[in-house]
């Protein structure tokens, strides 16, 4: 990977302890890595490996017990809740396993949501950005569909559009294909690879080892530590894999 590119994420010996009853649980035991602009990183690990905790750190939803986390050059550890909310609003796009769309709201309204909390956007600018993001994920024709009128794949596309709309420094996907069937999962991977090709930085947390083959780099976690961190030199094309899948029988 080109080392001269801008460092988006830098973790320096990040530790996170939780106190459960009288015991201290060490969820992260000193994690250090850097992610450069334009990388597509998968973070893998079994449950209990600390990947959710790491994702919360990366997403500025939580702060480290010790160690430093720099997002786009800014230290997150000492930030207040309010400052972190602002940082999330500007720098991070989340994609969740269960989509987390607002019920009874249209695609555009869902995608506009992050911009609602950014006073620099006017109503017209919000809509324009939302429409653009929806077009980027291939939902240009479903702008005013409500979330309950869409399939799982379409809902996840809306969620990805919502993650793109604020032009974030990094997109954080948490098991983003976990609720989808194989075919739709590959469709999502095609979309993520397309975003990667456009130069976006993506961090994809998953327990599915297949996905790692489509990313540019794979970090394995075990017991709160990095077990391996490998650059993937042979990135498979999700579009090709999708084409090889048997055609759906009906619909």
């Amino acid at each position: 990977m080109a080392e001269d590119k801008k460092v988006i994420i830098e973790l320096d010996n990040v530790k996170r302890n939780f106190i459960v009853g009288s015991e201290t649980v060490h969820a992260l035991r000193g994690v250090s890595f850097k992610v450069h602009q334009g990388e597509f990183v998968t973070i893998m690990g079994t449950s209990g490996s600390g990947k959710s905790t790491l994702l919360n750190q990366l997403g500025c939803l939580d702060t480290p017990t010790s160690g430093e986390y720099y997002l786009d050059g800014v230290s997150v550890r000492t930030m207040s809740k309010r400052q972190r909310a602002r940082l999330r609003n500007l720098k991070i796009g989340f994609v969740f396993q269960n989509y987390n769309l607002l019920a009874k709201s249209t695609s555009v309204e869902n995608v506009e949501l992050p911009l609602m909390y950014n006073s620099r956007y006017s109503a017209a600018q919000r809509r324009e950005a939302a429409v653009k993001a929806l077009q980027a994920v291939g939902l240009g024709d479903r702008l005013n569909h409500k979330s309950n009128q869409m399939s799982g794949g379409q809902m996840q596309r809306v969620a990805i559009a919502r993650a793109l709309v604020n032009d974030p420094a990094v997109i954080l996907a948490d098991e983003a294909t976990g609720n989808l069937d194989t075919r739709t999962s590959f469709e999502m991977l095609v979309l993520f690879q397309k975003l990667h090709a456009e130069g976006r930085t993506i961090i994809f947390v998953t327990h599915n080892p297949d996905i790692a083959r489509y990313s540019s780099r794979n970090i394995m976690l075990r017991d709160g530590k990095i077990r391996s961190d490998e650059i993937n030199t042979n990135i498979l094309s999700a579009a090709e894999a999708l084409a090889k899948l048997p055609k759906p029988q009906d619909d």
Binding site: R82, R86, F96, L102
Partner: protein, 405 residues
């Protein structure tokens, strides 16, 4: 998030749970309507009493014997004999702020005309009494001062007495009736005044010269009261002062000694009545206000349910950049909107309610401030009872909220 978007979000949340929102509004609607109706009835009764009293004449001053202590026992005013005819005469001679003055003695008993009889009250007065009370004679005319001097057995009768004793449309004027077996010639019939606001028949009475009643009916030498009218309502206080001076000197009361009479003005009575009505109104309104409190608790309850229900939504909003303040504002505005909408509907229902009360004969009058106060109270309820649920939402941990099932 800016305020317009907050309102949009709140409106959508309310609209997506229409029935539930309406039920929690209903508490506010009932509470506000109750407060408005109670205030309207209170205010209406007060105004109607005021009107009734002022119809009796606002410049009337009544002097009664009273405030008399004998051996530490306060005496019943009617048993006291401190007001004399001399008092009346001196007031009449020295009056400056008083336009009319009339002594009064009263007797009650049976009035009889042939086979007809009725129980009534006989007032012994001066002809000026009609000027004080602003009464007029509809048939015949009033007795004269000459009649008073001669203690003539003449009388005016009220409409009720006339109807009872002279049925079948007989003209009572010129006829003779008996009161306590003393014959009185009827010289006039008073114009009907109907019932007063305390439910008393103001037409069931006879008026005769006070001398006649004192000497021939009661055989007493003291007065039961003296009625005066001040020149104008504004001069009532000066008139009272004047009367006090005259009576104290007449009764030889000096220095610090208490008066042996009581002077009360109609204005004073009016104030007493008003303040009684105020007390009743306050009690009614406080009772109604409790229903508002209960309504507020209802809103708090529904907001807590709403916050729990939307935990995931809160988590999502926080993860895309909403601050605690954004979330708290969102829920606060929602509860304020529920309570203010309820308040506005409550004002409308309250207004319709007072119209219905009016139809059933209750005097009502909605004071403007009661509407403003209801509005303010609703806002306070919305913020007050929405605050705790809003804080609960604002303090959620986004990590847990977004994974909430």
């Amino acid at each position: 998030m800016n305020i317009i978007n907050l309102f949009k979000v709140a409106l959508r949340a309310i609209a997506s749970n229409k029935f539930r929102s309406f039920l929690s509004m209903l508490g506010i609607i009932i509470g506000v309507a109750a407060v408005i109706i109670m205030m309207a009835i209170g205010q209406g009764s007060k105004e109607s009493i005021r009107q009734n009293i002022s119809q009796m004449g606002t410049n009337i001053i009544m002097i009664r014997p009273g405030a008399d202590m004998r051996g530490g026992v306060r005496q019943d005013p009617s048993a006291m004999q401190t007001l004399k005819v001399e008092d009346y005469k001196r007031i009449d001679q020295e009056k400056r702020f008083i336009s009319h003055v009339s002594p009064e003695v009263t007797a009650s008993g049976q009035a009889i005309n042939g086979a007809n009889n009725t129980s009534t009250s006989l007032y012994g007065e001066m002809p000026e009494y009609l000027d004080i009370k602003q009464w007029s004679v509809s048939d015949g005319e009033c007795f004269t001062e000459e009649d008073v001097k001669k203690s003539a057995k003449v009388c005016l009768i009220g409409k009720t007495v006339a109807d009872e004793l002279f049925p079948n449309g007989q003209d009572p004027v010129g006829r003779t009736l008996r009161f306590k077996s003393i014959p009185f010639r009827v010289v006039g019939v008073l114009k009907s005044k109907g019932y007063n606001s305390f439910g008393m028949d103001q037409d069931n009475l006879m008026i005769a010269p006070y001398t006649t009643v004192m000497k021939r009916v009661l055989a007493q030498n003291y007065l039961s009261s003296i009625n005066c009218s001040a020149l104008t309502e504004e001069l009532t206080d000066k008139a009272i002062e004047e009367l006090t001076t005259v009576l104290r000197s007449n009764h030889k009361i000096s220095g610090e000694a208490d008066n042996d009479f009581t002077i009360r003005s109609q204005e004073e009575m009016m104030q007493t009545m008003s303040s009684t009505m105020d007390t009743i109104t306050i009690i009614l309104v406080v009772a109604a206000a409790f229903s508002l409190l209960v309504a507020g608790i209802g809103i708090m309850n529904i907001m807590l349910v709403s916050v729990t229900e939307r935990t995931r939504e809160i988590g999502l909003r926080m993860s895309v950049g909403a601050t605690g303040l954004d979330i708290s504002n969102q829920f606060l505005i929602e509860s304020v909107m529920i309570s203010i909408t309820g308040g506005v509907l409550g004002i409308i229902v309250g207004y319709l309610g007072t119209l219905i009360c009016n139809k059933f004969g209750l005097p009502t009058s909605i004071p403007l401030w009661s509407i403003l106060v209801s509005f303010a109270v609703c806002t306070v309820i919305g913020i007050g009872f929405g605050y705790f649920p809003a804080q609960k939402a604002a303090n959620m941990d986004p990590i847990e909220a977004i994974r909430y099932e």
